[in-house]
Symmetry: C2
Subunit: 204 residues, 2 copies
DNA sequence: GACAATTGACATTCCATGTTGTCAGAATTA
DNA sequence: TAATTCTGACAACATGGAATGTCAATTGTC
């Protein structure tokens, strides 16, 4: 407990603005380092150094290190879903919506490699809380694609497989240095999804 | 350096036999704990306790903790590939071979949940060495299925996606407590793979 | 300019872990 | 039985990280 009786401006920013700024700097630094070194190899010390802040402000912004990881992951997920929703907006035909969503997905992966690496690879087997967050986001991912192509809700295992495949494709694509043209990757992913997300009665 | 001038039997086992026994006990204990708690939350102390051995024997058997993780993973992979090869042996038709392999895969997942959890989830973002091992095994996995259905070698991204999907299906299937009948899961996976692993000229 | 709030650098505490070392006692052989 | 190897329990050391605390210097307010 410090004694902040008043909260006056500092460098032109209010107390709230400063707090939010520090928080977002921490998140950005965290994602960058997570993506570069892997979550397991990044501690709060390194994150603070990268953000140009000290531990004191870290624990002002987050309960602990895990909370930052969760916030980072959920921030990435939010941006991702926003982008996908925006991307499919102009289209109405299921196939066109699917292609637009996948295009956006792989475009984001290419544009934000650190975020992508963290999002794709780091969150497994670390802690139950992190695992649950990953699970929930993955489920939303499957549901979104189901909605995109107009499949009935519920999310069959086949759809799970398709989305899992799309994620793994991104992993391998990145590891190969994005040398494969994005259109090729999108086309392959589209084939995988369009097959898996068809309505039950047409499937077999 | 101890001074083992001779190596005499102990409890009916030669020195070599005892070493191998200790080593395999360590691997078994490691996989069990990895699967239960996640790799990041398991140290050599806990593994030694689970194996009923002490640290002294750990470092007799392995260079360090990471070496045990690699050995564990590769041991699982070896058993897995052996099982798959055996499963497809009696069949010659691509479709039958594929079904047999997938049946074996999901059967193993169900039969060895600890091994499966470790194999599927734990190895990402921990260390470069572990990551490389995982990558190599995944590649072999894709190649094996390509060979099973008689696709030309090389491993397209679409095939990567299919295998990634199969792995993710196993993850979700396990998390759901294996409540979905294995035949259903195999059938879905089979659809995913049979579609993705077709020869280029037929694909579109 | 005086005073309070705010910041940043750093020390400090606490604890877990990896790794190596010690040693008394059990099992084995002669 | 005596000598010796092997074992298991545990101490010891080093390292690194999480989380809290201290304090002088800086910035804004009056």
């Amino acid at each position: 407990m410090s004694s902040p009786e008043t909260d006056r401006a500092y460098r032109g920013l209010s107390a709230d603005e400063r707090r939010k700024d520090r928080r977002s700097r921490l998140v950005r630094a965290a994602v960058k380092l997570y993506g570069a070194r892997g979550y397991a190899n990044v501690g709060v010390r390194a994150i603070c150094a990268e953000a140009g802040l000290t531990e004191r402000y870290f624990y002002e912004a987050f309960e602990n290190g895990e909370a930052l990881a969760i916030a980072s992951f959920e921030g990435i997920a939010r941006v991702l879903f926003d982008n996908l929703e925006t991307a499919i907006l102009p289209h109405s035909a299921p196939r066109a919506r699917l292609r637009a969503a996948l295009s956006a997905w792989f475009g984001l992966v290419a544009a934000y490699p650190d975020e992508a690496r963290f999002f794709l690879k780091d969150l497994d087997g670390v802690s139950p809380a992190l695992e649950e967050v990953r699970r929930a986001v993955f489920h939303r991912f499957v549901a979104l694609f189901g909605r995109i192509v107009g499949a009935e809700p519920g999310g069959s295992l086949l759809e799970v497989g398709a989305i899992g495949g799309v994620l793994e494709m991104a992993v391998v694509w990145m590891r190969g240095g994005l040398r494969i043209p994005v259109d090729t990757v999108v086309a392959d992913a589209e084939r995988l999804c369009s097959f898996a997300f068809q309505p039950q009665e047409v499937r077999s």
